[in-house]
């Protein structure tokens, strides 16, 4: 029996370790199935180095607009760098946080990825220590990166160290449905950000003229929908939920929600749009309407305030649309969205990954093709003119107007809060929970703000 027991234990141990081994391997191989065959044994990185062929993993969010570009990048890069193989991993944005955590914990990190393509954002991963300091590389290859906008480059510089190379830089705008404007005989809004006559009251006036058939789900048109988050609605009026240091140190700290009366005014204005003037949809209505498609694209909303991704997200529209500045208010700040390429701190092949990042942002190759296939506003200044041209063609606006609009957005823009403050997905969902009640008219703005302040302070964010 002893002998039997021994052999049984041995068999179990072997099985156990075998399954561990299989488990470990599959962790590295799964989900990347779509990127070519071969590359066997590349998992054990140590062996890969000595043989000269290195495999790096490139993590991207699922986006049908980008797949062709991604494949093209890998093909081109592998041709010019025969010793490096790139494995593509495509994950839906909402799952990236969860998957990355598992990858990081098991030590099988993706080499190149964009921290802002996960819901948590740059600051969270930077704080966590998941991102590689790229400063030495940037210093070495400064010449190749010099066309990237200097101000934008600084966004991802923390304590003198740069952790990301910006690939795109998108502003925030007001998009409007020209067809609905024409039908209601309403004058189009201006395109000049410095036009101080374009105020919120003006916007409300237009919204009132555009609103019709409210209550009939198949015909109703709301004049306006402000799609910005509460903190950004407050930015646009010159306020801020957080201290300036929060954005530079990545630590939320004490919220300043109750310190400035403008916060209440800004949010009250937007609540009034829904309940007093009835020109904007409540979250309940918006949820309902969104079930049949984007409310702007289905013509249920005539004006919408949102990020500059509208430039390409609204391409499929069956009507003509225009773009305007976000209405003027003293102290107006609007959100910029700058996405960087990052390299994992734990990457086993940082040099090769850097080569790949350079390839991706090269304004004559990767960066240019990226802009062409996604229409995203480039971070590289040498591509700006081509982008104006491209957007002008697609929207029917003049090149001048596109340029004016975009330059204004950058002038009044500041980087998005969720990219700069650690664990912002927790902060924003805490704000949103209460705000839903406020938008739906179940809570006053004042009570809502007090509650948010209390809840944010109770968050245990270290």
């Amino acid at each position: 029996m002893n002998k039997f027991k021994k052999s049984l234990t041995l068999a179990l141990v072997m099985l156990f370790s075998l399954s561990m081994l299989l488990y470990g391997c599959s962790g590295g191989n799964s989900a990347g199935g779509d990127s070519a065959a071969g590359g066997n044994g590349g998992d054990s990185s140590g062996g890969g180095d000595s043989k000269g062929k290195v495999e790096i993993t490139w993590l991207v969010r699922t986006d049908p607009n980008m797949i062709e570009w991604e494949k093209d990048m890998i093909k081109g890069f592998e041709e010019s760098h025969p010793n490096i193989k790139v494995k593509l991993e495509t994950i839906p944005q909402s799952e990236i946080d969860q998957r990355l955590t598992t990858m990081i914990a098991s030590g099988k990190v993706p080499d190149v990825w964009s921290s802002n393509w996960a819901n948590s954002g740059f600051a969270t991963y930077m704080k966590m220590g998941a991102l590689l300091d790229l400063t030495p590389y940037i210093e070495r290859d400064a010449a190749q990166l010099e066309t990237i906008n200097k101000d934008i480059m600084k966004i991802y510089e923390i304590d003198g160290k740069t952790y990301g190379i910006p690939m795109l830089s998108i502003g925030s705008f007001l998009f409007y449905n020209k067809e609905l404007f024409d039908k209601a005989n309403v004058e189009y809004p201006p395109i000049d950000w410095d036009d101080t006559s374009w105020t919120y009251d003006k916007m409300l006036e237009k919204a009132k003229q555009l609103t019709k058939d409210i209550g009939d789900p198949n015909k109703q048109v709301f004049g306006i929908h402000n799609g910005d988050s509460p903190n950004k609605q407050v930015w646009a009026w010159g306020g801020d939920f957080f201290r300036p240091e929060a954005y530079t140190t990545a630590v939320m700290g004490e919220p300043t929600i109750l310190n400035n009366p403008i916060h209440k005014d800004a949010l009250q204005f937007n609540v009034d749009l829904i309940h007093k003037h009835k020109v904007a949809p409540s979250p309940t209505t918006l949820d309902a309407v969104s079930a049949i498609g984007d409310p702007f694209l289905t013509g249920r909303v005539a004006m919408v305030i949102t990020g500059g991704w509208g430039f390409w997200a609204y391409q499929p529209a069956k009507f003509k649309w225009g773009v305007a500045p976000i209405p003027y208010h003293e102290g107006r700040k609007i959100s910029l969205y700058v996405d960087p390429w990052n390299i994992s701190a734990k990457s086993k092949h940082p040099d090769e990954s850097w080569e790949f990042v350079k390839y991706l942002v090269d304004p004559k190759n990767g960066g240019k093709k990226f802009m062409e296939s996604t229409s995203a506003t480039p971070a590289d200044t040498s591509l700006a003119d081509q982008w104006y041209q491209q957007i002008a063609e697609k929207t029917g606006m003049s090149v001048e107007d596109v340029k004016k609009l975009n330059e204004g957005a950058i002038k009044y823009g500041r980087e998005s809060d969720n990219h700069l403050i650690d664990k912002f997905s927790v902060i924003s969902s805490t704000i949103d929970q209460t705000m839903k009640g406020v938008w739906n008219g179940e809570k006053s703005v004042e009570d809502g703000l007090k509650e948010i302040d209390k809840n944010l302070r109770a968050l245990n964010l270290q």
């Binding site: 029996m1 002893n2 002998k3 039997f4 049984l8 068999a11 179990l12 099985l15 156990f16 399954s19 561990m20 488990y23 946080d97 969860q98 955590t101 990081i104 914990a105 819901n119 948590s120 969270t124 966590m128 220590g129 998941a130 789900p217 979250p283 309940t284 209505t285 949820d287 309902a288 309407v289 079930a291 049949i292 701190a345 664990k423 997905s425 927790v426 969902s429 949103d432 929970q433 209460t434 839903k436 009640g437 739906n440 179940e442 809570k443 109770a458 245990n460 964010l461």
Partner: protein
Amino acid sequence: MSNVSTASELTSATAPKRKHRRGPEERREERAFWVFISPWIVGFLVFTVGPIVASFFLSFADYNVVSSPKFIGLDNYINLFKDKLFYKSLRVTTYYAVLSVPFTIICALALAVLLNQKIKGQALFRTLYYTPSIISGVAVSFLWSWLLNPDFGVVNSLIYDWFGVKGPGWFTSPKWVIPSMVLMQLTGLGGTMVIFLASLQTLPSDLYEAASIDGASRLRKFFSITVPLISPVILFNAIIGLIGSFQVFTQAYVITRGGPDWNSYFYVLYLFDTAFAQFRMGYASAQAWILFIIIFALTMLMLWASRRLVHYEYDAKR
């Protein structure tokens, strides 16, 4: 137990006469048993026991995935009991369980009784009513979010057509969100129903015949014969249902993200957020262990409270 096998034992290995003497055939069989069961055992050790043990140790640590865990004693548990959101999520989950368990039991039992009738197409109906249970929770969630859409949903348009009133906002209303999620259980009844159905089919017909002779109504028969006889099954389903409701996650994650105003912020959703949005694995592990203790205690409480209500037919051998 290194015994020497004898010829007699070799031949009669399959029918052991004595307890502690086993032949090589039997030992081989035992070995085969271990080999065949090993995939399950290994899976259980690696994917269940391993994580359980790991989470137990992590619950005493500060661990953000990138840096290695730091031992902090009972801090996670102490903070948890000071955490208002912990109590809120617990209240939401309890409210859901209180509504959902009876609802599921009553609906599943009613369905099982109906499907137990001897009618034409019985097998077809049984299959039909079981089918929704095999659909993934995410798909079911999307289905329901459409059915209960306040403006375009089938349910609200029927309510309007039949009663002339506007239906509630369902998932977007703080008051209705939990009842809506309970209603969603209608597509998840299959498993409970099948267990009821199986137990209904084992009921002896002589009791019913005797009751009929005594002039008992159908309802009387149901409550005086069926319910007492299947009471252990009801208890079983109630406990399984309770455990399930305390672990509810998918609906809230897919449809409401815990809103509106935290009203569907279930315990496990909070746990998930601490782990994968806040990256506080230690705290999340502590939450998981508290959940385990809560479920364990409630199960024990249910077993204890029901001991007089449940009728076990131990002496049914006759």
